[in-house]
């Protein structure tokens, strides 16, 4: 039994199919949580499925994942994806080809849960905390009536907590899987919002025939922009600036 999740059940199935290298229609799975878009993005949550590993047909290595365009190949056409962005710790749920050497033990999961619980309590937030291992990460889902406070402006609080939890948990043990904090599907919504900005800015750059700068973003967020516009031949993307001021510039390809 292995759990996968995505914005919708269909996407979760595709993700599972890609990870397990099994055709989507051959997967045997049950829906744990059908997910939901929520209302205006409030209350949105991931769809989750449990795949029955034993009941799947033998893997057929020729199957290409239909929707796995998120995986970045640094050697692809667009060299604009800098080393830093390509290797960025990704906050998206994108697949990653790395196979973790260290297993995720129940002790690790309970340590993560204990730490996040104590932090959330010390912030005096009422929250239900759900920790589970997914395909490429240790997912921590924080359900709270005060999600806004937990996420912070542009996610600064949830990102800071996530960073601190990763540093603390892997201080004395070998790295297993990246710990990703999420609340009410925030990560997925943020990716979609950034893709929307990238899309509109690319159109503006083409229309006005000039380079347009995006606001400063973190490495994983810049990566979302690069990957999203990678297959658009009309624009090129490039990261410029240093530190917290680093941002993506979108230029028309003709320039």
């Amino acid at each position: 039994m292995r759990e996968f999740y995505a914005a919708t059940v269909d996407e979760a199935v595709l993700r599972a199919a890609a990870a397990l290298n099994i055709a989507p229609d051959r997967l045997s799975y049950e829906v744990v949580d059908p997910g939901g878009a929520g209302f205006l993005g409030i209350g949105a949550k991931d769809a989750r499925i449990n795949v029955r590993l034993g009941e799947t047909l033998p893997p057929s290595p020729t199957i290409e994942a239909p929707r796995e365009t998120e995986t970045v190949d640094a050697t692809t056409r667009d060299s604009a994806i800098s080393e830093e962005d390509a290797n960025a710790v990704d906050t998206s749920h994108a697949e990653d080809e790395r196979t973790p050497q260290e297993p995720v033990t129940p002790e690790l999961l309970s340590e993560v849960k204990a730490l996040v619980t104590s932090l959330v309590e010390a912030m005096s937030l009422n929250a239900r905390i759900d920790v589970y291992e997914s395909d490429d990460e240790i997912a921590v889902d924080v359900a709270s009536p005060e999600t806004g406070l937990f996420i912070g402006q542009k996610g600064e609080t949830i990102d800071s907590l996530q960073y601190l939890v990763n540093v603390a948990v892997y201080k004395d043990r070998p790295f297993a899987k990246r710990i990703v904090l999420d609340a009410e599907g925030y990560r997925q919504r943020r990716i979609e919002a950034i893709q929307g900005i990238a899309h509109r800015t690319a159109r503006k750059a083409i229309r006005e025939r000039r380079s347009v700068e995006l606001p400063p973003m973190s490495a994983p967020e810049r990566r979302v922009v690069h990957v999203y516009l990678k297959d658009n031949p009309q624009v090129n993307t490039m990261s410029e600036g240093t530190g917290y001021n680093r941002r993506v510039t979108i230029s028309p390809a003709e320039l």
């Binding site: 730490l115 104590s118 932090l119 010390a122 912030m123 005096s124 406070l149 937990f150 912070g152 600064e156 609080t157 990102d159 800071s160 907590l161 960073y163 601190l164 540093v167 603390a168 201080k171 530190g243």
Partner: protein, 79 residues
């Protein structure tokens, strides 16, 4: 009400090699809370982090928690 001293203590103890040496004190007025963090000499780098990334994250989390208390906060690392 969030206990900011406790929050800062939990964060610091989770990051350092010598959690027993972590000390947190605070001065509180009507409008603000000033927190001071003391750790073992060898652990100062651990709570500050590369280019101050860790202390910046700590300040962000403490600041978020202080919203409920309606006070401004400041976190200093003493050496």
């Amino acid at each position: 009400m969030p206990d900011l001293e406790n929050l800062l203590g939990i964060l610091a103890r989770s990051l350092v090699d010598e959690p027993d040496k972590v000390e947190v004190s605070s001065t509180e007025t009507d409008s603000r809370v000033d927190l001071e963090l003391r750790v073992a000499d060898g652990d100062i780098g651990k709570v500050i982090g590369r280019q101050g990334r860790t202390i910046r994250a700590i300040r962000t989390v403490v600041k978020a928690a202080s919203v409920k208390a309606g006070k401004r906060t400041n976190v200093e690392v003493l050496d």
